[in-house]
């Protein structure tokens, strides 16, 4: 039994080590570095949308997710864990005044595991945006936005 447990732990460690190159760009856990003050809760954003206040909203996750469902008026920027995604994000917002409110979201995975959101946030801050809001999706977009009944555009 002890041997089985040791083997299981060893297998787990080996997996983590093997996947190091995969997660190098993903950097899961980085989302925890996003300050609470820049996070926006789903209910708050939904209320803004209901009131007709629609800032630029960018999905910085994966296209299969965006194609299935996304926030109305949001644009697909591409994954923040890829250079292409960050470049695409830059091109989406480059013409905007730097004091314009910009909202980004992903929701591909649980918040603390998201490989995209922190990199996208850093990109916008690096570009000089001063009013970036990051949609806080604790579990994922499905559970924390769609299942709550907030507005979505369906596709796929």
């Amino acid at each position: 039994m002890r041997l089985a447990m040791r083997l299981a732990i060893l297998a787990h460690l080996l997996t983590v080590l093997l996947l190091a190159p995969l997660s190098a760009s993903a950097a899961p856990g980085d989302a925890l570095t996003i300050p609470a003050s820049v996070q926006i809760q789903p209910a708050e954003l939904a209320a803004m949308l209901k009131a007709g206040d629609t800032p630029p909203i960018l999905q910085v996750g994966f296209s299969v997710m965006y194609q299935q469902a996304h926030i109305p008026n949001s644009q697909y920027a591409g994954p923040g864990n890829k250079d292409d995604g960050l470049l695409n994000l830059k091109s989406h917002v480059d013409a905007l005044p730097r004091d314009r409110l910009v909202v980004i979201y992903c929701g591909c995975c649980p918040w603390e595991k998201c490989p995209n959101i922190a990199a996208a946030y850093k990109q916008l801050i690096g570009m000089g945006f001063t009013k970036v809001k990051v949609l806080y999706l604790a579990s994922n977009f499905g559970a924390d936005w769609v299942d709550k009944g907030y507005p979505v555009i369906r596709g796929g």
């Binding site: 983590v16 296209s63 299969v64 591909c108 995975c109 595991k113 579990s139 369906r154």
Partner: protein, 167 residues
């Protein structure tokens, strides 16, 4: 006559809106059928798995908890495969090349097919990973699990489903 046209238009509009809203699946519902070629080059038809206990694992190479689960799923496949258990991985990656790269780094002993928005919608909308469906021998969903992977709990569920299948 105009009323009839307006009513027909509204009905069509409603029908199209409903068509775009995927039905949220619950345990007891039939697992939607799908046929795809797996990335190992073989056809995978969910219907032909009838009689087995099937675990449909929606995953992606960019999803850290999904990646952590793969060796455990391979272990479950090895442990229960001969007793009528089958794992199928459905990758929600945007590109098959990325998945193939991952498959060179981690050993999979079960088929992996590419998913897409259509398949995601068929399963009620795959709008967050990991997401797993355990399907019974009769093709009905036994359990749905999202979020952090729990190998021990899954192992017990599979063992129970296999025992029940034998009875």
């Amino acid at each position: 006559m105009l009323r009839v046209w307006v009513a027909a238009f509204l009905l069509a509009l409603t029908a199209s809106a409903h068509a775009k809203t995927p039905i949220k699946l619950k345990p007891g519902a039939g697992a939607p059928q799908f046929v795809r070629s797996d990335l190992q080059g073989h056809p995978f038809d969910l219907k032909t798995q009838r009689g087995k206990i099937v675990l449909i694992d929606f995953w992606a190479s960019w999803c850290p908890p999904c990646i952590i689960a793969i060796p455990h799923l391979s272990q479950l496949q090895k442990k229960y495969g001969a007793r009528g258990f089958q794992v199928v991985g459905v990758s929600m990656d945007d590109s098959a090349d990325t998945v193939k790269e991952t498959m060179q780094k981690i050993r999979f002993n079960y088929p992996v097919v590419m998913g897409d928005a259509k398949l995601g919608n068929l399963y009620g909308g795959v709008l967050g990973l990991p997401l797993q469906f355990l399907v019974g021998a009769d093709g009905k969903i036994l359990a749905i699990r999202s979020g952090a992977f729990a190998p021990t709990a899954l192992d017990s569920k599979i063992a129970a489903a296999l025992a029940e299948r034998r009875e």
